[in-house]
């Protein structure tokens, strides 16, 4: 039986970031994934790093996450494309204008440097947007990551920091005795760890059950649409007042349309299926925002499963009734803040005084 200081179950952005920070601080870390590293939400998400869609209370964390993303070469790897962009959040009707002003004000209160700007100013920032907007909210702190490269970047960085990666290892049982955790895998192998971190994303409900913790985690199947490569048709990250659109053009010319329009999917067999009427709503909204997009062709549609708690706030921190057991996940816009959240949890594990009370899992128990 092999042994490790820290076993992290789930190799997404949250497990990966926590593990990386712990390893950099000298701990012996093993990351276990039932699939490959970052092939869950963290490898298939839209990669938008925007404040316009972040839950207000999470803005301070998203800002820190954004800063980390902007210098990945220092802490992660060069293998991942990140680009800073201006962010424009658009309102097309008077109701939306009201909503946008109100929401931007609250986000600003939590620390996002968002300002309401006129149509003219918005068009100066990105001449490609629909000229029929009522107003826009502007934030310089925006951009994107090419999320498909997450797995490559993290696995490289983790390996360089001597993290052991077990891929295609599905956890079936966790035994706890004499302050040690024995993780038993479906293939019969075992791993002993002094401490464990559960970071299984949309599977957290199931994984927490292994420790007799019962909480509800919703599974949101989200659709994403990508165009084939196009000449430059936009220059900003575009979102809308109600938060149901994220739109940007990557350096390679493809345009990614997201915004959380649900498809069909379940955790059990990782099955996903598109909902054509929602694809169409999402596409219409995108083409309305950037009219030139309509001349393009859709190259691919895919889905990812996102985790959400009942109050749509994260669960991060200690797992009650266990020594040295932690959980991290269900973070709204979790890709943006993931690197920072992971770092925070790692620092807490390393003994620093970090306040994670906002995310305490006890609120559900």
């Amino acid at each position: 039986m092999t042994e490790t200081d820290v076993a992290i179950i789930g190799g997404g952005i949250n497990g990966g970031s926590t593990g990386l920070e712990l390893a950099k601080n000298g701990l012996n870390v093993t990351i276990i994934d039932k699939n490959f590293i970052c092939r869950g939400a963290s490898g298939v998400n839209a990669g938008t790093l925007t404040m316009h869609m972040t839950r207000a209370q999470l803005i301070p964390y998203a800002k820190k996450g954004w800063e980390l993303w902007m210098n990945t070469s220092e802490w992660l790897s060069k293998e991942i494309d990140v680009e800073k962009k201006n962010g424009l959040c658009l309102a097309f009707t008077e109701d939306e204008e009201k909503l946008l002003i109100e929401r931007s004000k609250i986000r600003k209160y939590y620390g996002a440097d968002i300002s309401i700007i006129s149509i003219k100013e918005a068009q100066r920032i990105d001449p490609n947007i629909n000229s029929s907007i009522k107003c826009a909210a502007f934030c310089e702190m925006d951009g994107y990551v090419s999320a498909n490269q997450t797995g490559n970047a993290y696995s490289k960085a983790l390996k360089e920091n001597k993290v052991k990666i077990l891929e295609n290892y599905d956890v079936s049982k966790i035994d706890y005795h004499k302050n040690k955790y024995v993780i038993i895998f479906k293939n019969g192998e075992k791993l002993t760890a002094s401490s464990i971190i559960l970071a299984t994303g949309v599977n957290l409900e199931k994984t927490l059950k292994l420790l007799q913790i019962n909480i509800k985690i919703k599974c949101l199947p989200q659709q994403l649409i990508v165009s084939e490569r196009m000449p430059k048709i936009m220059d900003t990250v575009i979102t809308v007042a109600n938060g149901k659109l994220s739109l940007k053009q990557f350096k390679n010319g493809t345009v990614l349309i997201g915004g959380g329009w649900p498809g069909i999917g379940n955790i059990e067999d990782n099955y996903t299926e598109t909902k054509p009427e929602n694809l169409i709503g999402n596409m219409m909204l995108a083409c309305h925002a950037i009219p030139r997009l309509k001349s393009s062709r859709v190259a691919r549609v895919w889905l990812g499963l996102e985790a959400e708690t009942d109050d749509a706030m994260p669960i991060i921190g200690e797992i009650p009734n266990y020594e040295n057991a932690y959980v991290i996940g269900s973070i709204h816009s979790g890709y943006t803040s993931g690197p920072y959240m992971g770092k925070l949890l790692a620092e807490k594990i390393l003994g620093k005084d970090i306040d994670l009370s906002l995310f305490d899992i006890k609120r559900f128990l």
Partner: protein, 475 residues
Amino acid sequence: MAILINNRKYDVIVIGAGPSGVSSAVNCAKKGLKVLIVDLNSNTGGQIYRAPPKTYKSISKKLKENEIQKQLSNEIKKFKIETAYNHTVWQVSPGFKVNAFNETSTIQWQSKSLIIATGTYEKIIPFEGWTIPGVIGLAACTIILKAHHFIPSKKIVLAGNGPLLMLVAYYVIQFGGKIDAIVDTSSKIDWIKSSFSLMTNPKNFRDGIKWVFKIFLNRIPVYSNSTIEKAFEVDEGIKLKIRNLKTGKAKNIISETIAIGHGLIPSTDITRLLRAEHIYDEQKGGWIAKVDRFLRSSVRGVYLAGDGAGISGALAASDKGLLASSTLLYDEKIISQKEFDQNTYKILKKLDKYEVFSKAISKLNSTPKKIIENIDNGTVICRCEDITKSEILRAVDQGARDINQIKSWTRLGMGPCQGRTCQYAASKIVAEYLNYEIDNLGYLTGRSPIRPVPLDRVLGDFDYEKITKVEAAPL
């Protein structure tokens, strides 16, 4: 909503109007089922009996393929089967909903069962220079000749392997073109060995003899055991470096068009979208939808006709269509066990016979290890995204271990063709490199749209008010 929803529900939608699609549609229609047959081409025929453009007027009955195509169309008309030609299917979802676009809009149909008869596309093993305009598929060449009635250029080199080489050569000569060389990865002995099995199918065998005879009479240089190693653009056209795999000797040839193909790959776009089970069978063309003896896929209500569940060729196609549709009719309790047994007994026997034939063909079309090894590191493998062999191997060196992981790390297969052109070769390269069984690498997850779909055709003109209102995201 801009997608036109056709409220007619069909009992069966047959996707693909080649010989197997037509025979299954007819079989279902005969039993009174409401059938729709869909194809992106403008008529029946599929790839092998592809109809000429609508504007062409026939002046001769000498072209066998054309006569067969006409028969297929007549059958469809006779049984008043609804058709949707010129419609490209881009999405199929469980239930079943089939979405397709034509020149102006997209449409959605619904049906209880599906018969997938989407045939194959061509397997082409890359070599340095295969992306040069003027290098085309062998199957493409048959379509140019037999459906469109063009000779691609004054001079041509044919390369790859299998009977398609001979067939294309025959038609090029017949139509007045000039063949500079035939470059075949198989040896003459391979051909002789397989001829015994090929004889089990006398009709095709006779055709084969006719082709070979023509090649011989016209003294076309045939380079056996050989492959194209490199192609360069030169003023006169394309210069080829040909390598004999046995002796290692190289030779240069200059021509205008290069047509190359190494066999066929079953189309699995739709079965992968529907998350049907797939298995790897090299002899049948690589990844294929898993079917039982009666051509049921692992998804209830989905049947595979034709080459979709393994290459067995044109003659078997219509029988496979009959088998798949009879199974459907039986599952839907439209025909009795007895009728089903009667229908299928003969077909299964016939199909077993074809199997001997198609095995021999697939042997001739097998991919020599050497030509995979020979691929230069700088060669583009994924044409859509310009991903080279060395970029693929780099991802593997960094730890990528299945084809989807390679896809997300390199963008291989992320372009408009969705990996149809490169998946086979890329998997071969990686399997070779890692010394893995190729099926361990898995297959690319099916993603909609299976053909790039123009946004304007999906959306049409719309007002902002018409966009579905959704609940705002939590603040």
